[in-house]
């Protein structure tokens, strides 16, 4: 069930502290924000600013020290492993920086993996559409080792979309790619939002990547220091400079 105001993910006063006493590290320091449906949000910030930590907590992969996360109206901060598994199956899509695909399965099998895991039959038309969108019609039966890094990452994006999740989280999905391949992947994420009405939250280091988003959140020392439209890549670079 969606929140009445169209917010898919709501974070309230998220705090994450690693360690304790003298050596304690505050990775997140009272972060509150919300992500609206059908929007593409980029999260940026200097290294160690807490981007990954925030994303992991939003995705239920990690638990906050304090604060709550509500996903599709459900508080996910106190779910057990079984409930979290179900949540990841039904509501979430993931794209990681590397190691996205299973080497033993073909591109298409990797693409439909979330459905296979859930024991659901993929809708053929939908899978075909995804494959066309990622431009891998010719490579359905290829194994990941036979695909380029960019192609692999495109399969990973398609996989994140295949179960039509409430939100797709991507942690530096282009971190490992050259600019042409990055462009393809970002383009794909953009189309996921525009054409398939998906919600995407992406952590990135790359100002050019952030420029594809509708909204840019900037973190620093575990706090949100900027939140708004990203503007062009140059604007983003300027913004980052100011922060440093």
């Amino acid at each position: 069930m969606a929140a009445p105001d169209g917010q898919v993910v709501v974070a309230q006063e998220l705090t994450k502290v690693y360690g304790s006493g003298e050596t304690a590290v505050v990775a997140l320091d009272g972060v509150s924000t919300a992500f609206e449906r059908d929007r593409f949000t980029a999260i940026m910030g200097p290294s160690g600013s807490g981007k990954s930590t925030l994303m992991h907590i939003l995705a239920g992969l990690d638990t906050p020290t304090a604060g709550t996360v509500t996903l599709d109206g459900v508080d996910i901060t106190h779910l057990d492993d079984g409930e979290l598994t179900k949540l990841r199956r039904d509501k979430l899509g993931f794209v990681f920086q590397f190691f996205n695909l299973l080497p033993v399965l073909t591109a298409e099998e990797n693409l439909v993996l979330p459905l296979s895991i859930a024991g659901r039959k993929p809708e053929e038309a939908w899978v075909d559409q995804l494959i066309r969108t990622v431009g891998l019609e010719e490579r359905r039966t290829h194994r990941p080792a036979e695909l380029s890094g960019g192609q692999q990452q495109r399969v990973a994006v398609a996989r994140a979309l295949v179960s039509k999740p409430a939100v797709v989280f991507a942690d530096e999905p282009t971190g490992n790619l050259d600019s042409k391949a990055s462009e393809d992947v970002l383009d794909l994420l953009r189309r996921a939002v525009d054409e398939f009405r998906q919600t995407v939250v992406m952590v990135t280091h790359d100002p050019a990547a952030a420029a594809h988003a509708d909204r840019l959140i900037t973190l620093r020392d575990g706090k949100i220091v900027q939140d708004g439209a990203p503007g062009g890549a140059d604007d983003v670079i300027e913004l980052m400079k100011q922060l440093d």
Partner: protein
């Protein structure tokens, strides 16, 4: 570098221990086999020495032909006065020491089925070695003693009835004393003492002794006394000092039980071989996983030799652990084996466990050699890691050309192996040479198949994995793909299981063939009637049983057969000689090749009927003569009067008259009685009467109909099969440790992948299932290969036995059972790795390097 490898081993100590376990178990079994047999031998030595307390010289009959179960030659009473007349003899007495049967008031047997029971005569003070711990020495008729441990386990007390069967009817005695032989333990064996004349009467050795014990006057050397006694006795008397006698006794025990040591060691070495596969695999995997580490070391300037040294040092440490813990484990295994043998009724004498230096040396050598050899190839591979691997990772690839060479090598090895097996089967050379050739060839074939198995992994994984995929969909599919991912690794893991299961299959198929052959022989030969034999299935029974049986209404006649071992004069080999009663063919059919039933019915004492094998081996035609030497040193010239087809059956190689059996071979007891019924007689009723009579008068005998006889034989085979299964269980367990180890390592390797699967929605349960099926597929690959190999070996070895009447039969149900059990074993082996995989923290695994 040394510090580094010790550290790196310590960092992976759980894995290192699991790897050591693969060596430890095999070494422990080898050490245990030695410890057990050495202990048994030591116990016998103790018995021999103890039983010769006070005796200086022992006189027995020469025994030129070793007997399997029949009568041993005796010495006549006439020797005694001659010996007593020799200067320096303080005391001399004849003694009886003959196998018999003991029963309690209710006719229940005392002592386990296969344990020897001896009827012994009391000796005069000074020569007696048994001490009476309770009661008194038996004197005169009606009194007997029993050794304390037998009495205790049978619940007998002084004053109770002890029934003894010798060569005649059972005789009841009153238990008047309990004995002990020093501190020695007889294991399951027991000794009953009666006075000398009673013992002679019981064993039908009136006027004869099994041995004469002599005590020397003080100051007279045993050796000198022996020489003096030799002078007054004929050559057929064997005169020995007590020491010589004990030495011969222990020598004979070592000969007779040597096979036990050999069999146990074979199982031990099989376990070691299986362990070698595991070590090889573990080292291969860890070396592959540590490629980056080696790369870093290389960039830091470590030489190839240093890398090699560090890996081999790890192997050395594992070998050392294997040796030390293996020897310690050997004691546990020895105790376990002893309990196992006791459980099947072979309760062997024991004393405190014996650890010979040979056991220690062999254990360490085996542990080191096996770990070093197994680690050599992986260690060499580690040296191939280029410094650049520190950055990029490195997978040593096997080129196509190398692969072809590999397969060619495997094929060659297989061919050589098969050739050796065939050569071994075809014969030539001693039994040990043949066994070595068959065994060596077998190992070569096994290694060849293992070399070849990486190529078989893909198709077999599909065969085994498809059904899983049908049932389980994605997890089955992933398990199948994962097991094919690293075919070499899966292959070696499966090969370890293959070896153990090949042996299990071989034993199963062979035993089933043996059973069906025995069943066939019984079916063909003993049509209708009843059979009387010893309850242990091989010892003779009193001749009186046949006479008594013949008088029972409904019994038409009783045919008997008695047997002994004899030496063929000339070639000198030992053959089984049987003396059937003239009416034998009423009970058992003979397949005549030359001559016929009439020949046998009217066989003369200077004639023999021989098997075709015997005739061929000795170039004999009907009318030719040959000469046999009996254990009592009687030479019998025999003329061939007929020929029969040799078969696994009752007749052995040579048939002579029962008169010859009695005169030359001193066999007056029967091996088997065949009861022929009157037409129309009620077999069940006759059997009931006979059984009742046997219980009362001849309790060592039992009456069996055709079905019972078959069941009895099958039960004997089954028992041996079960024993083999138990011994093979060790190898199976080791190969399962291999599955655990390989699976654990690949879970560790795939941590990130597993994290990803969990992140996109795979449940813990699904992860567990996936890993479990991976283990099941590996186990099934091993089982399929093992079944195939086992069946082929059984068929090969059965081939030359065909003409002896051996037919193979394939116990399909049991073989399928093995397959199912292997799959279940895979499930068990997967428990720990699957649990580990499912408990991985999603986030941590994703970030795992």
């Amino acid at each position: 570098m040394t510090r580094l490898s010790v550290k790196s081993l310590w960092a992976r100590k759980v894995r290192a221990f699991a790897t050591s376990l693969a060596v430890i178990l095999g070494v422990a079994f080898i050490a245990g086999s030695y410890v057990l047999t050495d202990t048994i031998f030591a116990a016998f030595d103790e018995i021999f020495t103890e039983s010769l307390q006070g005796t200086s010289v022992v006189i027995t009959a020469q025994n030129p032909v070793e007997q399997e179960s029949g009568e041993v030659a005796t010495v006549p009473r006439a020797y005694l006065p001659k010996v007593r007349g020799v200067a320096g003899v303080k005391q001399a007495a004849g003694a009886i020491f003959t196998p018999g049967g003991f029963f309690d008031e209710e006719n229940d047997a005392i002592g386990t089925k296969f344990a020897p029971k001896f009827i012994s005569s009391t000796l005069p003070e000074g020569l007696e070695s048994l001490t009476y711990v309770e009661g008194k020495k038996p004197e005169g008729p009606g009194e007997a003693s029993l050794d304390k441990s037998a009495a205790e386990s049978a619940g007998l007390e002084l004053g109770d009835t002890l029934k003894i069967v010798g060569a005649g009817k059972v005789v009841p005695f009153k238990l008047v004393g309990l004995t002990q032989l020093g501190q020695a333990s007889f294991g399951g064996a027991s000794i009953a003492q009666v006075s000398l004349p009673v013992a002679q009467a019981l064993t039908h050795k009136r006027g004869r002794f099994d041995q004469i014990s002599v005590a020397a006057e003080s100051g007279v050397a045993e050796a000198a006394l022996k020489r003096r006694i030799e002078k007054v006795l004929p050559l057929s008397a064997r005169v020995e000092t007590a020491k010589e006698n004990a030495a011969r006794g222990s020598e004979e025990i070592r000969d007779n039980l040597g096979f036990l040591q050999t069999i146990l060691l074979v199982f031990g070495y099989v376990a070691v071989l299986v362990g070698a596969f595991i070590i090889f695999n573990t080292f291969s995997i860890t070396v592959a996983q540590r490629v980056a580490e080696f790369g870093v070391l290389r960039t830091l300037g470590a030489s190839r030799r240093q890398i090699l040294g560090s890996v081999l040092l790890e192997a050395g440490v594992i070998g050392l652990i294997g040796g030390i813990v293996g020897i310690a484990g050997g004691f546990v295994i020895a105790l376990g084996l002893r309990a196992l043998f006791a459980a099947i009724g072979a309760d062997l004498p024991t004393t405190s466990l014996v650890l010979e230096s040979r056991t220690v040396i062999v254990s360490f050598v085996v542990a080191f050699v096996v770990t070093f050899l197994s680690a050599l190839v992986p260690a060499w591979r580690s040296t191939r890691v280029p410094p650049i691997a520190a950055l990029h990772g490195f997978t040593p690839t096997v080129s196509r050309g190398r692969r072809v060479v590999f397969v060619a090598l495997a094929a060659l090895l297989a061919a050589i192996g098969v050739a050796f097996v065939v050569a071994g089967l075809a014969g030539g050379g001693g039994i040990s040479g043949r066994a070595a050739r068959i065994g060596g060839g077998g190992i070569a074939v096994v290694v060849a198949v293992s070399l070849f198995s990486p190529s078989l992994v893909r198709p077999l994984a599909d065969v085994a994995g498809r059904p899983l995929q049908w049932v389980r969909g994605l997890t089955g599919r992933l398990a199948r793909e994962n097991s094919k991912r690293n075919p070499g690794r899966t292959a070696v893991t499966a090969a370890a299981l293959m070896i153990s299961l090949a042996l299990v299959t071989f034993v199963t198929v062979f035993a089933s063939g043996l059973k069906s052959s025995v069943a066939q022989v019984i079916e063909e030969n003993f049509a209708g009637g009843l059979v009387i034999e010893n309850t242990d299935g091989f010892s003779p029974i009193p001749a009186g049983a046949a006479f008594a049986a013949a008088k029972v209404p409904g019994v038409k006649s009783v045919a008997t057969i008695r047997g002994a071992e004899a030496k063929v004069v000339g070639p000198g080999n030992t053959v089984k000689v049987n003396g059937p009663s003239p009416n034998i063919e009423e009970g058992v059919e003979i397949e005549w090749l030359k001559g016929g039933p009439a020949k046998l019915r009217h066989l003369r004492d200077d004639e023999a009927i021989v098997s075709d094998d015997f005739a061929n081996e000795n170039n004999l035609e009907v009318g030719d003569t040959f000469e046999l030497l009996s254990q009592s040193e009687v030479h019998s010239k025999l003329r061939v009067a007929g020929e029969f087809e040799s078969k696994v059956g009752v007749f052995g190689d040579v048939l002579v008259t029962q008169q010859v059996m009695a005169d030359a071979f001193k066999q007056r007891q029967d091996t088997t009685d065949f009861v022929i019924l009157e037409p129309g007689a009620d077999a069940e009723k006759v059997q009931a009467i006979l059984t009742l009579g046997a219980d009362r008068a001849f309790p060592t005998a039992e009456v069996l109909n055709q079905g019972e006889l078959r069941e009895e034989r099958e039960a004997q085979i089954d028992q041996i099969v079960r024993l083999f299964y138990l011994l093979l269980a060790l190898a199976v367990i080791i190969s399962l440790i291999g599955v655990v180890n390989t699976l654990g390592l690949s879970v560790y390797e795939r941590t990130r992948e597993l994290g990803m699967l969990r992140a996109i929605g795979m449940s813990r349960r699904q992860v567990r299932t996936m890993i479990r099926y991976e283990a099941v597929i590996t186990a099934l690959i091993g089982a399929i290969l093992g079944l195939a190999l086992g069946v082929v070996f059984a068929a090969l070895i059965a081939q030359p036995l065909k003409q002896e009447g051996f037919t193979l039969s394939y116990p399909v149900g049991t073989l399928i059972g093995i397959l199912v059990l292997a799959a279940l074993a895979g499930v068990v082996a997967a428990i720990i790795p699957a649990r580990r995989a499912s408990r991985l923290d999603v986030l941590e695994s994703l970030q795992y390097e």
